[in-house]
């Protein structure tokens, strides 16, 4: 490990109005290593990589590629310097084939103007075979899985002769199996001499895949340490700056009678595709039922149908024994439903509203918030004051606009609103998506507390860790049906098999 680094960032400082996103951060990458960049949301990981990729110009600092100082003024410079970046959200054109996507902007041509498609496909096939990617160059991108799309992105970088690869939160969109396959591919790449920067906030995968780990916190580099010997606990402490409980502490559940009952529900989405196909489940008071599944298997439609935001074709939804099938959102809420929506910015909050107004989103039209259509803003503020304190919302008071809060605090506002209504059934959809470790801890603890209060909690999440650590029962959803029920002790592998339809025969 005494080789000179292929890449060095020295003292990078990048400011945005009011924020120092990177504060004198130094970072180096040795040949053939996987160097993980670890930090919470807002720690400055993406900013640092965007500086490296030529998307931002830093105010201070220097970038050295193989020892020579290099100016990155656009992604073009970065690509020329051998850097390839795989964004969290893929930059692929869905209607084009794999080969077309990969050669885009560097197409092999015939007579300088015509695309030589066969040559392109052949080169892609060669690359794919060399690294065991198993990708069909002639498949259309929209027809292949997310995991394969990610490999197409990696191939694109390889095609451009990259020897440094940046992966931004690559596992966020993958199933556990796909993540394992990705790790194998990364292993192959490093053996071939590629160097990889792996951005993540997931502790377990960082310790698994990385050779070295650099931890960022609030724009500053905290430490670079070898992965060998690093524990999840020690990394969490570095990341957050204090001791963090990684495991949710919860006692045994004491389930009562079923509060949420779904019977043979069928839901068709806007495009006329049946997304929920005869789904039945029960959630009893005092238990957390987790729904595990790969994104797009009907979770969103299931939640929307329960919450009255989407009509169902047939079947029944009962909240606390009352039939709310195809009732309006308002009726569902009034029957005793709380709903922490999947997307707090698009749906959970009105970002331009104050926190006081946001907290009143469900009961602005009933006493004490209003009377006979007359609104009492002071009462909204007074109520918000108490709730913000109770849920430890920081970064603003009742009059602050919701858009000005960090993600964790926004989610606490949503949580406060839904829990304060004292619902019998609480739907928590992706309750910790995009949150940092500290906020996740808070949300999880609160959900367990609400369970102990006797509420029925339906947890829908794409994070298996979350499902495993919170749920009292785990149901696996696949293509709009529940295909299996598991106890919380089940292994990720077993769940993963069921999530991709493998466990169908043993379906409960």
């Amino acid at each position: 490990m005494d080789e000179p680094p292929v890449l060095e960032l020295r003292g990078i400082t990048k400011r945005f109005p009011g924020i120092v996103a990177n504060d004198g951060v130094s970072f180096d990458l040795r040949p053939g290593e996987v160097h993980a960049l670890l930090g919470e949301n807002g720690a400055g990981k993406s900013t640092l990589m965007n500086v490296l990729y030529g998307l931002y110009t830093p105010e201070e600092g220097e970038i050295r590629i193989k020892g020579t100082p290099t100016r990155m003024s656009s992604p073009r410079d970065a690509i020329d310097a051998g850097i390839g970046m795989v964004h969290q959200h893929f930059m692929l054109i869905p209607v084009m084939t794999v080969a077309e996507n990969i050669v885009l902007a560097n197409e092999p041509t015939r007579e300088r103007v015509l695309l030589d498609y066969d040559a392109a496909a052949q080169r892609v096939r060669d690359l794919s075979d060399a690294f065991k990617f198993r990708i069909d160059p002639n498949a259309r991108v929209e027809d292949i899985t997310v995991g394969q799309q990610q490999r197409v992105e990696i191939l694109k970088a390889l095609y451009r002769n990259a020897d440094i690869l940046i992966l931004d939160e690559p596992t966020a969109v993958l199933t556990p199996q796909e993540a394992q396959e990705l790790f194998e591919i990364l292993g192959t790449l490093t053996r071939e001499g590629m160097s990889i920067i792996f951005i993540s906030h997931k502790l377990n995968e960082v310790t698994e895949i990385a050779d070295r780990i650099t931890v960022l916190r609030r724009g500053k580099k905290i430490e670079t340490l070898p992965a060998a010997g690093a524990t999840e606990e020690s990394l969490a402490r570095l990341m957050v700056g204090r001791e963090v409980l990684l495991r949710v502490e919860k006692g045994a559940s004491t389930p009562t009678e079923p509060l949420l009952q779904i019977q043979d529900l069928h839901v068709t989405d806007d495009r006329g595709i049946e997304k929920v196909r005869g789904l039945s489940l029960d959630v009893r008071g005092g238990e957390i039922v987790g729904i595990a599944g790969v994104d797009g298997n009907g979770q969103t439609e299931l939640i929307d149908a329960i919450a009255g935001l989407m009509g169902s074709d047939s079947g029944r939804v009962l909240v606390a024994g009352e039939d709310v099938t195809n009732e309006s959102a308002k009726d569902c809420l009034d029957t005793g439903l709380g709903h922490i929506p999947e997307d707090r910015q698009r749906r959970g909050l009105v970002l331009d509203f104050s926190l006081a107004e946001n907290l009143a989103l469900h009961d602005y039209d009933s006493q004490p918030a209003s009377r006979l259509g007359w609104l009492f803003p002071k009462r909204l503020v007074a109520r918000a004051q108490g709730l913000l304190e109770q849920f430890d919302v920081r970064g603003g008071g009742p009059q602050t606009h919701a858009g000005g809060l960090s993600g964790g605090n926004q989610q606490k506002v949503v949580l406060a609103r839904e829990i304060d209504r004292n619902p019998k059934v609480l739907i928590a959809a992706q309750p910790t998506r995009g949150l940092d470790v500290g906020a996740i801890e808070f949300v999880h603890r609160r959900l367990v507390e609400e369970r102990d209060e006797g509420r029925a909690i339906l947890l829908v999440s794409l994070e298996l860790d979350e499902i495993l650590s919170l749920s009292d029962r785990i149901l696996v959803i696949y293509e709009g049906q529940i295909v299996g029920e598991f106890a919380p002790g089940v292994s990720e592998e077993e769940l993963g098999v069921a999530m991709t339809g493998g466990g169908r025969k043993e379906a409960a």
Partner: protein
């Protein structure tokens, strides 16, 4: 807890990139709007006047400041500046005392100001019509059509029903006029709520419907053409009956003094503010305007609010048309229907006023003063050419709308200066 530093809310969390993300232009503009408040509209106006001045200079060679002074005086706003000693009509005295304005009812400035305020009434209301829809996330370009719907209804009711007592007659005409504006705009809201027809398209189309209905009704041989003697060749409605005309409370009714509709406009500003900020309806409208998806999730009927907000918008515009008819026009001829554009000026009023009550109140005054101050009646050819006059109004109006749309650009220019200063500060340090 790991919170972002409290740096004044300039940072908006983005789920994809967390706090690593630089605030987008839109996010920064939102902050500016909140922080800057009146600064940006003010700057916009000054810039528009500056460019308008350059045009005056280039086309006529006259001093733009003289031109603007002439407009100012033409609008009658100089009335407030005529400080002096006047008879203020204290009972049993005829002595003259110091008073901040000219109290004689027929000073030239007072006459001009009355005209400005008459236009102000319609601009406040058409401005509110656009602003209210904006707050519900819709762009109501149909103010003109809704204004006409109100005017047509008012002239019809006002000229019929001779037996009705005056007060009742006025009330019926106003309610009917406002209601027809509401229904007319409600159509666009209903289409948006049910089939998703975009309100910009449908309100533009409805403008033509109102226009041609008016032309048909009052045109030659139309069912509501006047029945005056020898009036068959004049495409105009009947006159509004005497008892349904609004009282003039300032100035001479024969010289088109200021009618009591002025107070209706002021009341409308208050109603607008109260509705939006102090009622559950306003809460719903704003929630839908900011984020329809979140509103729906919160249990608010988005469709219902689209229809309601449009209808309320139309009420304001319909009221404008009604008050113009009952207050000073008294009749409607097809030519007026063609050339009237007060509903469109309402768009500029709302944009510059940032859709707030106080903003609309101020920007309506600006546009009313411009319209009256440049009307040919008040022109001195020595100062600028008559043919430039009304064009200058339109020009400034256009520039304001353009700059309101482009205030991102203005902020950007601001940003450049700020950054330059920071850089300078750093190099010095």
């Amino acid at each position: 807890m790991t919170e972002t530093p409290p740096e004044g809310g300039g940072k908006v969390e983005n789920p994809r990139q967390g706090g690593d993300y630089a605030p987008s232009v839109a996010a920064r503009v939102a902050v500016w709007h909140k922080a800057g408040g009146i600064a940006v509209p003010l700057l916009t106006t000054i810039l528009a006047f500056f460019i308008g001045g350059l045009v005056v200079l280039a086309t006529t060679g006259k001093n733009p400041l003289t031109t603007y002074k002439a407009i100012f005086e033409g609008s009658g706003l100089n009335w407030f500046l005529e400080v002096g000693s006047y008879e203020i009509g204290i009972p049993w005295t005829e002595s003259r005392v110091w008073f901040p304005w000219d109290t004689s009812f027929n000073s030239f400035a007072a006459l001009n100001l009355q005209q400005t305020l008459i236009v102000y009434v319609s601009l406040v209301l058409t401005g509110l019509a656009v602003a209210f829809a904006f707050r519900c996330g819709m762009f109501n370009i149909g103010g003109q059509g809704q204004y006409l719907a109100g005017a047509i209804m008012a002239v019809w009711i006002g000229s019929e029903l001779p037996g009705l007592p005056g007060f009742l007659h006025i009330l019926v005409a106003i309610v009917a006029g406002a209601l027809s504006g509401a229904i007319f705009a409600g159509i666009a809201g209903f289409l948006k709520a049910t089939v998703g027809a975009h309100e910009v398209i449908s309100t533009i189309m409805l403008n033509y419907v109102a226009l041609w209905v008016g032309v048909f009704l009052f045109g030659l041989g139309g069912p509501l053409q006047n029945d005056n003697e020898g009036g068959e060749s004049v495409p105009v409605s009947n006159d509004v009956l005497e008892e349904s005309k609004l009282n003039v409370f300032w100035g001479d009714p024969l010289l088109q003094g200021l009618h009591v509709g002025f107070f209706v406009a002021l009341a409308a500003l208050v109603v607008y503010w109260i509705t939006l900020n102090r009622t559950t309806l306003g809460y719903e409208v704003r929630a839908v305007g900011f984020n329809p998806e979140a509103a729906r999730y919160g249990g608010i009927s988005v469709a219902r609010n689209y229809v309601l907000a449009m209808a309320i918008s139309g009420t304001f515009a319909g009221l404008a048309g009604t008050l113009d008819i009952l207050g000073w026009q008294f009749r409607l001829n097809t030519n007026d229907i063609f050339i009237n554009s007060i509903g469109f000026v309402g768009i500029a009023v709302a944009l510059l006023g940032r859709n707030t009550a106080i903003g609309v109140a101020l920007s309506a005054l600006l546009f009313a003063a411009l319209l009256v101050g440049t009307s040919t009646r008040n022109l001195d050819p020595e100062i600028f050419r008559p043919e430039l006059a009304s064009n200058l109004t339109t020009l400034i109006q256009g520039l304001v709308v353009l700059f309101v749309g482009a205030d991102v650009l203005i902020l950007y220019l601001f940003g450049i200066r700020r950054r330059a200063r920071q850089r300078q500060a750093r190099t010095q340090a």
